[in-house]
């Protein structure tokens, strides 16, 4: 039976994992992901899942064990944050390169140094080129729904790629929200059975995986992998749509919120979307044509959708919780800019880096970003491209 209960973002992720009942979970604890592993270990102890939980000795081994189990034909899920994702970095590329449909829940936390356990998106944004599908969630309900969808996306025959589901640490992971939880059987039916394309346990038909691949073939292999990632977008959309038809909730690749006639817009991902919506609503009441463009699917990057949504906008700001030191702009900003260039759309685009290391991003600060955009829209001139929100001493 469906029911609505109070769950944190981590709790919602763990509940989705319980209902998916994967074959193997290999994970290592790190704040703010810890609650997911702990909760899941409880499910294992009480016998409410059939999963083999591998309590590995590091995140590097977590992703390594996930590769082994996935290659052996087992549905496999893991979760981590920050330093854990960084320690997995080498393995992220291998999981994608081996075309293993692993699902990873990443609770976004900043990266050391200085050490800090709080939220920003440096960890997963820093892994953007690993070849994974990356989905960013706004709140705990979306986390729950997206984890379930991720299994289907990853295992789709035309995709066969790992999927990372990202949620902001503490802001989402530790906040209790009313979550509509599906019936166990509904989730079971939705995710279906994992039918691996290749399988190490098929000893009658032995295959070699992970072979050394020299310049003769390497490029083609990597291109095929990149192509699969690009082509996964319709599958992500299809799974989300089917989920919506069955359960009444869907999110899209992007969400254009009050964008139809918007003159100024904030483009962002994760929990900042929710705050930006509230501010945009306020501004709309005052007659200001403000909108929000939520990027839910960050890899593959929705080039067409983003360019289309921003067409006609006079000024837009990309807000993200990560730096890209020494780069012409941070990651998401650069991607949005690239999408506009691809499609020949001109928008006065600026960047706002916000909320590093857990600094709060309140509505009043987002309002200032919109004010900045109003000035640019009015003058038609961009005064400064790279901006830092609520950074002390920065003018």
């Amino acid at each position: 039976m469906r029911k609505t209960i109070g769950l944190t973002g981590d709790g919602a992720a763990a509940e989705a994992m319980r209902q998916i009942d994967p074959d193997v979970v290999a994970a290592y604890p790190i704040t703010p992901q810890t609650e997911i592993v702990e909760r899941f270990a409880e499910f294992v102890a009480e016998g409410s899942v059939h999963t083999e939980l591998v309590t590995v000795e590091s995140e590097h081994s977590a992703m390594s064990a996930c590769c082994g189990s996935s290659a052996a034909g087992a549905r496999t899920i893991t979760c981590t944050s920050s330093q854990g994702l960084a320690l997995m970095h080498e393995m992220l590329y291998i999981a994608a390169g081996n075309r293993l449909p692993i699902v990873l829940i990443n609770v976004n936390r900043t990266l050391s140094a200085p050490i800090n356990i709080h939220n920003d998106q440096s960890d997963s944004l820093g892994s953007r080129d690993a070849g994974w599908i990356q989905l960013y969630c706004e709140g705990a309900q979306e986390v729950y729904d997206t984890v379930i969808q991720a299994v289907r996306i990853a295992e789709d025959r035309s995709v066969m790629l790992p999927v990372m589901v990202c949620l902001d640490g503490f802001v989402v992971s530790h906040n209790v929200e009313p979550i509509n939880v599906l019936d166990d059987q509904e989730v079971k039916d939705f995710v279906g059975e994992f039918r691996p394309v290749i399988n190490l346990l098929d000893t009658e038909n032995p295959i070699s995986m992970g072979n050394l691949t020299l310049p003769e073939y390497f490029f083609e292999h990597k291109y095929a992998q990149a192509y699969a990632l690009e082509q996964s977008k319709p599958v992500i959309a299809k799974v989300d749509k089917e989920f919506g038809e069955k359960f009444g909730r869907s999110y899209g690749i992007i969400e254009a919120y009050r964008m139809d006639d918007a003159e100024i817009a904030i483009v962002t991902l994760g929990s900042m979307v929710g705050t930006a919506r509230v501010v945009a609503d306020d501004l709309r009441q005052q007659g200001i044509k403000a909108g929000v463009l939520k990027i839910r699917c960050y890899r593959p990057f929705p080039i067409d959708e983003v360019a289309e949504a921003l067409k006609g906008v006079k000024a837009a700001a990309v807000m993200e919780k990560a730096l890209s030191p020494g780069a012409p702009g941070p990651a998401v900003f650069s991607d949005v800019l690239g999408a506009l260039y691809h499609k020949g759309v001109h928008v006065n685009l600026i960047s706002y880096v916000a909320g590093l290391g857990g600094r709060d991003v309140p509505a009043k600060s987002i309002r200032r970003v919109y004010e900045h955009l109003q000035k640019i829209a009015a003058s038609g001139k961009v005064d400064r491209i790279l901006n830092y929100l609520d950074l002390r001493g920065w003018q």
Binding site: A26, V54, S61, A65, G73, I94, G210
Partner: protein, 313 residues
Amino acid sequence: MASLKELSQREILFTGGHRLCAGCPAPIVVKQVLLAAPHAPIVVNPTCCLEISSAVFPYTAWKVPYYHNAFENAAAVASGIDAAITALRRRGKLDENKKFSVIAIGGDGGTYDIGFQALSGMLERGHRVLYVCYDNGAYMNTGIQRSGATPYGAWTTTSHVGDAQKGKQQHRKDLAWIAAAHGAYVANASLHNWRDLMRKVEKALNYDGPSFINVQAPCPRGWRFPEDKTVEIARLGTECCFYPLYEVEDRGRKWVINYVPRNKIPVTEYLKPQGRFAHFFQKGNEYLIEEFQAEVDRRWEHLQRLAKMSEDL
């Protein structure tokens, strides 16, 4: 263990046509291990000479499921495969009678050094995995650099012989001992004694728990000896007790020496044919031989004491 006649009728699961050096120890070890495996083998192979030479796309020398993933994680990858088997069996997705032999085969670098943590984790968690280290005592794949398994005084490309330093400054890490401390089934073996090695492999894979077998694997290229001497050098290594053959059972408590040389030969007989120890025999460097011999004796005596203590068990 199967008789020689029975073994001769089994299929060799590692084919020729690979790109390993002539006289390479790795395929000798692999063939023995796969021949001895009692169930359907699944091999995990970390980055090393064996990997880069045996599975070059679109070819493979492996007639069994084979997975290379990375350098430092074979034990963790194998742990995942073991977990998958357990989980799929629990769900009734595997044929009840089907049994697997999950085997990780790695070099000493991927085992003693960079893969040490993953190995420890795998042994501690108790996976039904046999980890075989073909111990050629250096990072051969990357051009003969020292590892934790390189013997004292040996020349490598990161432990050179010069006026200020004569080869590797430290003695080898004794990894089998550390593995034994995990309570796993542990054995030291050598490729020249196929009967001993294969018996151990079979035992390990019939054991309902983790196991580790370290195999002496003389490398003609890195040790600097002619490629028709691989087996002979291994024999000398065991005859001088540098590489004794033993096994540890009963969760690390019972130490059994499987081969006691009738005449323990001096280490010089083992060192002399190997170019990596050439400087041991130069005037003024006699102390290297003495130190090498002393350490071999210390370890051999200690092993004998442990074996003696274990006799009552």
